[in-house]
C-alpha cells in the first residue's frame, strides 16, 4: 500500500466526520503511521503525532485570534 492510500482514506473520513480538521494534519499522520507500521516501538510515532497535533492546535488558535 502506498502512503497515499491511507492518506486518501483518512482524508475521505475527515471530510465526512470532521471537516474542520486540516488535510495537512491527516496526510502527515498517515505518513507517520505508514513509516512506523512495522516497528514495535511506538514512542517515536507518538512523539511525531503529538507535534502534528500541536501544529494543528497552533493553527486553530491563530485562526481564532484572527
Amino acid at each position: 500500500m502506498s502512503e497515499d492510500r491511507l492518506a486518501r482514506i483518512l482524508e475521505r473520513c475527515r471530510t465526512e466526520l470532521h471537516p474542520e480538521m486540516s488535510a495537512r494534519l491527516i496526510a502527515d499522520a498517515a505518513g507517520i503511521q505508514n513509516r512506523n507500521q512495522f516497528s514495535d516501538d511506538r514512542a517515536p510515532a507518538k512523539r511525531e503525532m503529538r507535534e502534528l497535533v500541536h501544529a494543528e492546535l497552533t493553527r486553530r488558535m491563530v485562526e481564532e485570534g484572527e
Binding site: 491511507l6 503511521q33 512506523n36 507500521q37 512495522f38 516497528s39 507518538k46 494543528e56
Partner: protein
C-alpha cells in the same frame, strides 16, 4: 530490494564456502534445479536464517544449530556455520548495498557442542562498505523485510497449508496468524496503530485537563470525579491490557500446540498410510510369488522355443525328402502296374483293355514302352525307398513332439510383470521409509499432552475472552461518564483550559477518523485483494469457465463456478493455483517489495497450469528465485518461452549423502 548474493559456510548440505550469485535484476528470474533431499530448501532456509536467525524443519519447527552445520564439517571438528547476504535496496534516497552476516559457533571451551546453548551468535552489517553497529541488525531487517510478512516472500509448502486453513470452515484459529500477516503486508496496522496512538495522546490531554480543572472551583467537583474516573479507566485499561497479554500468551501457546497437533493429525494419516503401504507391499509379495511360479513353469518348456529355429530347418528338410520319396514310390508303383499290364498284352498277343489281337506294329511299340518303363522303374528305385520313408515319418514324428512351446511371449510378459512388481516395491518401500521416519519423530505421550493442554487452553481462552469483553464494556461506560464530566469541566473558560479543549477536540476528531479508516481500509483491501487475485487466477487457471474468486473474512479465497456458486472440494493443484493467485495479489498490493523465493512451487501442478504459472512468475516481483526439481519442470520445454526472463540458473549436485555443491547451469539459448 533484491538479494545479490548468498554466501554460505557449512550450511546444511553445503560443505565449506559456497555461494549463489542471484543476478543484478536485469532479469527477474533465478532458477535453482535440484533433486529432492539435495538442499533446495536449505537455500531458502539460509536466507531465512540469515535474516531472522531461524531455519525451519519440514514440520515448520525451528532447526537446532547442531543440525544446521554440515555433517562432514562437523565430523571434521568444525563447529561454525554462517550465511552472508548481499542485498541491494533502491528508493527515493537512492540505492544502497547492505551486507548482513549471521554466524554461530561453538562457545570457547565447549568440545561437544550439541544444544543451542553450546553455541554463540554473531551478526555483522555493512552499508556501502561502512561497518554498522550489530545492534542495528534487527531494526535493519525490520526495515528491509519484516519477519511478520516474510512468509509472502519466502514461500514454502507450509504457507500453502496455511492458505488452505483460510478457507476451511472452523479453520479460523489456525488462519489467524496468516490473516494477521496479510493485514500487515497490506498496511492495515498503519491505520490501527494510528488510532491507538491518537487514543493514547487523547488520554494524556484528558489528564492534563483534569489537573487544570482542579484549579477552578466550579469545575473542581467534576474534576475530582474526572480524576477518579480517569484513574479507574487507567485501572480498567491496565486490567484489559493484562487480559490481552494473557490472551496473546494463550494464543501463542495454542499456536505452538496447533503445530504439535498438526503433526498428530499428519501422524494419524501417516499411521493409516503406513498400514496401507504395508498391505500393498504384502500384496506385491504375493503377486511376485505367483509371477515367479508362473515363470518357473514356463521356463521348463522354454528350451523348445530356444531350439525351435534349428528344429524347424531340419523338419523342413526331412519333409521335403519324404515328399520326394513318396512321390517316387507312387510313380514307381504306377510304372510297375503299367509295365505288368503291357507285358500281359505282349504275352497274350491281345490288348488288355479291348481284347483285340495286337498288330505287329503295336506290339513293337508296346515293347518299346515296356523298355522305357523298365528304365524309369530302375531310375526311381533308389529314391522310392519305403524303409527310408518309414524312417523319415518316425523322425518327423519325434521332431514334432519337440515343437516350439510358444512360451517366449508369456515368459517376456512374466518378466515385465516382475520388473513392474520390483519397481512398485521400490517406490512403496521409499514411501514407507519416509512415513516411518515421520512417525518415529512422533511421541504419542506428547500428543496426548498437546491434546489435553489445547483443550484446557481453549477453555482458558474463552474465559479470558469473556473477561476481556466485560473489561471493554466497563471501559466504554467509564469513557461515556468521563465525556459527561469533561463537558462540565470544559465549561471552564480560562485560556489554558480553552487550549486544552481545542487540543482534545482535535484528538477526538483524529481518533474517529482513524477508527473509521480502519474499517474503510479493511473493506477496500479485501475488495482489492479479491479483484487482483481473480485477475491472476484467470491468467493461471486452464478452466476459463470459472467466474473468478470470492474472498472471505479471513482473506481466504473460494473458486466461483460460472454460475457464481463456490466450488466445494478443490484438488491439491487447484489449492496451489489459488494460493499463488493470493500470493501474487498480495505482492502487487504489498507495502514492501522484496525478492520472492519459492520452494517446489510446481509440485502439485499439471503441465498446462505449470506453463501458465511459468509465464506469470517473473511478473510477481523484481526478483524471483525458484527452487525446483526435475519432476516439476522440464528445463528445455518449460523454460523456452521465458528464457529471456532468466537471469541465472544453478544446479545442485549431490556427490554424497552429506554434501551438495551449487554449480552454474549452462544458459539455455533464447527461443
Amino acid at each position: 530490494m533484491i538479494i545479490e548474493r548468498i554466501d554460505m559456510e557449512n550450511f546444511g548440505p553445503y560443505y565449506g564456502h559456497q555461494h549463489l550469485e542471484l543476478g543484478t535484476s536485469q532479469h527477474p528470474l533465478v532458477i535453482v534445479h535440484g533433486q529432492n533431499m539435495t538442499g533446495k530448501t536449505s537455500v531458502l532456509n539460509a536466507v531465512r536464517w540469515a535474516l531472522y536467525g531461524v531455519a525451519k524443519d519440514r514440520f515448520g519447527g525451528p532447526l537446532p544449530t547442531r543440525e544446521l552445520i554440515n555433517y562432514d564439517a562437523f565430523d571434521e571438528g568444525q563447529r561454525r556455520v554462517s550465511v552472508r547476504l548481499t542485498i541491494r535496496t533502491s528508493g527515493e534516497e537512492g540505492s544502497a548495498q547492505y551486507v548482513l552476516r549471521r554466524q554461530r559457533q561453538a562457545k570457547r571451551g565447549v568440545v561437544d557442542a550439541e544444544s543451542d546453548t553450546d553455541f554463540e551468535e554473531f551478526v555483522d552489517i555493512e552499508r556501502d562498505g561502512d561497518v554498522l553497529t550489530p545492534n542495528a541488525f534487527p531494526e535493519l531487517v525490520g526495515t528491509l523485510l519484516p519477519d511478520g510478512i516474510s512468509r509472502f516472500f519466502l514461500f514454502d509448502g507450509e504457507l500453502l497449508n496455511e492458505y488452505e486453513e483460510l478457507v476451511r470452515e472452523g479453520g479460523e484459529r489456525e488462519a489467524r496468524g496468516v490473516k494477521e500477516a496479510i493485514e500487515m503486508i497490506l498496511g492495515l496496522p498503519a491505520a490501527k496503530r494510528g488510532r491507538d496512538d491518537v487514543r493514547a495522546l487523547k488520554d494524556e490531554v484528558s489528564r492534563r485537563l483534569q489537573r487544570e480543572a482542579r484549579k477552578d472551583r466550579t469545575a473542581k467537583a467534576a474534576g475530582e470525579e474526572l480524576e477518579r474516573l480517569l484513574a479507574r479507566k487507567g485501572q480498567v485499561e491496565q486490567d484489559r491490557d493484562a487480559l490481552k497479554a494473557q490472551l496473546r500468551e494463550v494464543q501463542q501457546r495454542l499456536r505452538v500446540l496447533d503445530e504439535g497437533l498438526k503433526q498428530y493429525e499428519e501422524s494419524r494419516e501417516d499411521a493409516g498410510l503406513k498400514e496401507s503401504l504395508e498391505q500393498q507391499l504384502s500384496d506385491l509379495a504375493k503377486r511376485r510369488a505367483r509371477a515367479m511360479e508362473d515363470r518357473r513353469v514356463l521356463v521348463k518348456e522354454l528350451w523348445r522355443d530356444i531350439l525351435a529355429p534349428r528344429l524347424n530347418g531340419e523338419t523342413r528338410r526331412l519333409e521335403e525328402e519324404r515328399g520326394r520319396r513318396e512321390d517316387a514310390l507312387h510313380r514307381l508303383r504306377a510304372a510297375e502296374v503299367e509295365q505288368g499290364r503291357l507285358e500281359g498284352s505282349i504275352r497274350e498277343g491281345r490288348c488288355s483293355h479291348c481284347g483285340q489281337t495286337l498288330p505287329d506294329e503295336i506290339r513293337a511299340r508296346t515293347r518299346a514302352e515296356i523298355q522305357e518303363l523298365h528304365k524309369e522303374i530302375e531310375d526311381l528305385k533308389p529314391l522310392a525307398d519305403s524303409d527310408r520313408v518309414q524312417e523319415l515319418a518316425g523322425t518327423l514324428r519325434q521332431l514334432r513332439a519337440v515343437a516350439p512351446a510358444g512360451k517366449v511371449d508369456a515368459v517376456r510378459l512374466t518378466e515385465r510383470n516382475l520388473d513392474e512388481i520390483n519397481l512398485s516395491e521400490y517406490r512403496l518401500r521409499q514411501d514407507l521409509d519416509r512415513v516411518k521416519d515421520r512417525l518415529s519423530r512422533i511421541d504419542t505421550e506428547d500428543l496426548l499432552r498437546y491434546d489435553r493442554e489445547a483443550k484446557q487452553l481453549e477453555a482458558l481462552r474463552g474465559e479470558i475472552g469473556g473477561k476481556l469483553r466485560d473489561a471493554e464494556k466497563d471501559a466504554d461506560a467509564i469513557t461515556t461518564e468521563i465525556d459527561r464530566q469533561q463537558r462540565i469541566v470544559l465549561q471552564n473558560d480560562s485560556p489554558v483550559f480553552h487550549r486544552l479543549k481545542v487540543e482534545l477536540a482535535i484528538l477526538e476528531g483524529l481518533e474517529a477518523i482513524f477508527a473509521r479508516a480502519v474499517d474503510e481500509l479493511t473493506n477496500e483491501l479485501r475488495v482489492e485483494v479479491e479483484r487482483n487475485a481473480t485477475e491472476i487466477f484467470k491468467e493461471l487457471t486452464t478452466d476459463q469457465t470459472y467466474a473468478g474468486l470470492q474472498i472471505n473474512e479471513n482473506y481466504g479465497l473460494s473458486i466461483l463456478r460460472h454460475d457464481r456458486v463456490p466450488v466445494g472440494q478443490r484438488s491439491a493443484g487447484a489449492e496451489q493455483v489459488v494460493a499463488l493467485s493470493l500470493l501474487g495479489a498480495l505482492n502487487r498490493m504489498a507495502t514492501k517489495r522484496g525478492p520472492v523465493i519459492m520452494d517446489t512451487p510446481f509440485g502439485r501442478l499439471d503441465r498446462s497450469h505449470r506453463a501458465n504459472i511459468m509465464r506469470f512468475v517473473p511478473t510477481m516481483a523484481d526478483q524471483v528465485v525458484l527452487l525446483v526439481h526435475d519432476g516439476e519442470i522440464d528445463r528445455v520445454r518449460d523454460l523456452k518461452d521465458i528464457v529471456a526472463q532468466v537471469d541465472a540458473e544453478y544446479r545442485i549436485e549431490h556427490p554424497s549423502s552429506t554434501r551438495s555443491d551449487i554449480v552454474p547451469e549452462a544458459a539455455l539459448t533464447h527461443a
